[in-house]
Amino acid sequence: MAGCGNNDDSEITTVRPVEPSAAPAVQAAGASSAQRFGMRQSMADAMGGMGVAGQFKADMPSGWQQKPPSSARPLNYQVGRDPNAEAYFTTLSSGGGGLVPNVNRWRAQMSLPELSEEEVAQLPKKELLGHEAVYLNLDGTFSSMGSEPKENYKMLGLIAIEGDTAFFAKMTGPAPILEGQEENFLAFAESIEEGADPHAGMAGDPHAGMAGDPHAGIAGMDMNMGDATVTTWQWQAPESWTRAPDRPMRLVTYASGAENQNEVYIAELGGVAGGVEMNINRWRQQMGQAPLSPSEIEALPTVTVMGEEAPIVEIDGNFDDSMRGATIADATMYGAVIPAGERTLFIKMVGPQDAMDAEKDNFVEFTQSINRAE
């Protein structure tokens, strides 16, 4: 990399304070090149044990970003910078409806006419998870359920049917972004393997995620300045709670109650995330209640979490989260804000009052069980 150097104007004279609210990733020290570029490693390798993808793993191409996996998308990615460009892998039982209907379902999403059985048989073939898969490379106007049609889109996809199971690898996005991604998509699809990621925890491991006890959890990351250690959180949920599909920006979500009408989750944000007072009053606003003064916040009951006292709230009212379109009349909310070094954890539970009355002790115990994993 040597070359002719130009030593004029070489002094760096611009110096600025580090912005406290800068993204945590920028303040992380000790990341390897593989971790920095997200290349050739599953997210569990790079970030230390999400433990959620469970049954499948794959090599993530350069320029892709891992998105939280879910039961519907065990492997889930954003392609490049545009959030409209995504790729994922999923499986469906009962054959998923068959090869031809699925091919034509994707073609319909791209506003393209259907293919006959003979035409589908002529489609190029690739391999997906060791099974023969038809390969689709489609251009058109993309419409998915409930969304506005988007012109000049591209879809790359692989569909394999093996017995009762259908396997799908799919990438959609604006055509200009996906133009150079075919090789990446095929490499990703070729790398998909079955089997739990060994870094995510094995069945029987009390710290395991989905593979073992769904009520024991381990997830998240905490990257410390000047320290290459990556830590994760762990917790223990009550037996009566049911693990719900994962959602972005949440470490875990559970449902409780006879009809799973209560929702409880843990979210993690960087820094103070607005602070205890701001967040508790934001929750009170969601419940239609007046904000508390700083002295009232100080007087709230507390629970001991990781050796520190964290305020806990119980708010009755009509829950109105207009951003998410959720409303519950006569509801109860339990909440706890846990400052944890350079991160803040939020534990929140909402449901109808009559169903929540029996959950208070469960919520407290769940909150107290949260700890940093070794």
């Binding site: 990399m1 070359g3 002719c4 150097g5 130009n6 030593n7 070489s10 002094e11 760096i12 004279t13 611009t14 110096v15 600025r16 304070p17 580090v18 912005e19 609210s21 990733a25 920028v26 992380a28 020290a29 000790g30 990341a31 090149s33 593989a34 971790q35 920095r36 570029f37 997200g38 290349m39 350069s62 320029g63 490049g80 910078r81 545009d82 959030p83 409209n84 409930g146 969304s147 506005e148 200009p176 150079g180 300045m225 000047g226 959602r247 972005p248 920006m249 949440r250 979210a267 944000l269 995330a273 607005g274 701001m278 967040n279 934001r282 207009s322 951003m323 998410r324 379109g325 959720a326």
Partner: protein
């Protein structure tokens, strides 16, 4: 000499000159708009609208040298000053056209100030997040910070984006115990593992230059970097705009973080997003309206609540925060959303509006007087 000066003045002040300039403006607008389809808005704007001269390829084959819009607007400014102000008949009883032309000149000045002195970018926040800076869509910078430190050294991309293959430049600073050498800057790049036969690589990875994206904000800059300490040791790495974490180097037992990121512009206050509201059209995931409730926090601690929505930006101290967009676009119910505020700092922010007022006033006066003159003449004719 005086005669030459008068001839030049008359030339620049002439209607003919104005017509020629306007014709070329029309031509450049047509060519630039068509070219945008191929190269994207950012590149088309640079080539056709921000240049002094350019070469346009008619039918992609025939080279045609043309003046750029920047030069044409300068010439139009000269033409208006000379012809519409200096040389124009000064009839103070009929000031309309003088006022209107002054408004047009003001509009051109506003454009000049905006082009040279405005900055723009975006601030993207999830609820309960806050920021005291906004990021450029296109420009980059390298930030160097000591791990755990409270300050960072900044190298703007104007100092290294000219470095092509095998070209390098050294940087050093008081307080940094090493020299940073940058080389092989790429405007759009991707990283990939490097095999043993790849000549340029660092830590098992190499940079591959990519074609420029049509949407310029999707270009990911990259460069090779070498840190050289006074003890003769050196470390080599890759700086890449989409890296998940900065490059860590250890010098004299201390960790330093080096990050290639979009250029940040500090703002003299903090914006904290308290609540983002999105209303969807019924039965769809298409937003009908979206707005942000933010807290503007001063360094001294005072704060105020501001509601930002479409056409209702936050304006303060020359900064304007517009509600631009939100995401992720494929968010489902219950998903956490972020709000993107477009931020502009433009000394001439409101000047185009004022210029339009002046032009409107001038035309109103001019045509109003014309109409009165016509009515009086018709009345006299009928009376006669």
């Amino acid at each position: 000499m005086k005669a030459l000066g008068i001839k030049l003045f008359r030339f620049f002040a002439s209607y003919g000159f104005a017509v020629v300039v306007l014709f070329f403006l029309l031509l450049l607008t047509l060519f630039g708009t068509l070219e945008q389809v191929n190269v994207g808005l950012f590149e088309a704007q640079k080539k056709y609208f921000e240049s002094v001269f350019l070469v346009h390829y008619l039918f992609d084959v025939i080279p045609i040298p043309l003046p750029g819009v920047y030069l044409l607007l300068v010439l139009l400014f000269v033409n208006l000053v000379c012809g519409a102000i200096v040389r124009a008949r000064k009839d103070w009883k009929h000031p309309g056209m003088l006022i209107a032309h002054s408004g047009i000149i003001f509009l051109l000045v506003a454009g000049f100030v905006t082009y040279h002195y405005s900055i723009s970018g975006h601030m993207t926040l999830y609820e309960n997040e806050q920021a005291s800076s906004f990021q450029s869509y296109y420009d980059w910078e390298i930030a160097i910070a000591k791990a755990g430190g409270d300050q960072e050294w900044i190298i703007e991309d104007t100092r290294f984006k000219h470095l092509r293959e095998n070209e390098s430049k050294e940087f050093n600073a008081q307080g940094l115990p090493f020299t940073l050498t940058l080389s092989d800057y790429m405007r759009n790049s991707m990283t990939t593992p490097a095999g043993p036969m790849v000549e340029k690589q660092a830590d098992g990875f190499t940079l591959l230059e990519q074609p420029l994206a049509k949407e310029a904000e999707q270009n990911i800059a990259g460069a090779y970097a070498t840190v050289s300490a006074s003890d003769g040791s050196s470390q080599q790495g890759i700086l890449w705009g989409l890296a998940r974490a900065p490059w860590t180097v250890t010098v004299n037992g201390e960790n330093y973080l080096i990050d290639l990121r979009h250029k940040r512009y500090p703002v003299p206050f903090t914006i904290a997003l308290e609540n983002f509201t999105r209303e969807l059209h019924p039965g769809t995931s298409m937003a009908a309206s979206f707005s942000s409730d933010v807290k503007q926090i001063e360094p001294g601690g005072s704060q105020r609540d501001v509601h930002i929505r479409m056409n209702e930006p936050l304006r303060d101290r020359g900064y304007t925060f517009f509600q631009a967009s939100w995401g992720p676009q494929n968010a489902g119910p219950g998903d956490r959303l972020f709000s993107t505020l477009a931020v502009v700092k433009n000394p001439a922010d409101q000047w185009p509006l004022y210029a339009c007022y002046v032009i409107s006033l001038g035309l109103l006066i001019h045509f109003g007087q014309k109409m009165l003159t016509y009515i009086r003449r018709e009345n006299r004719r009928r009376a006669a």
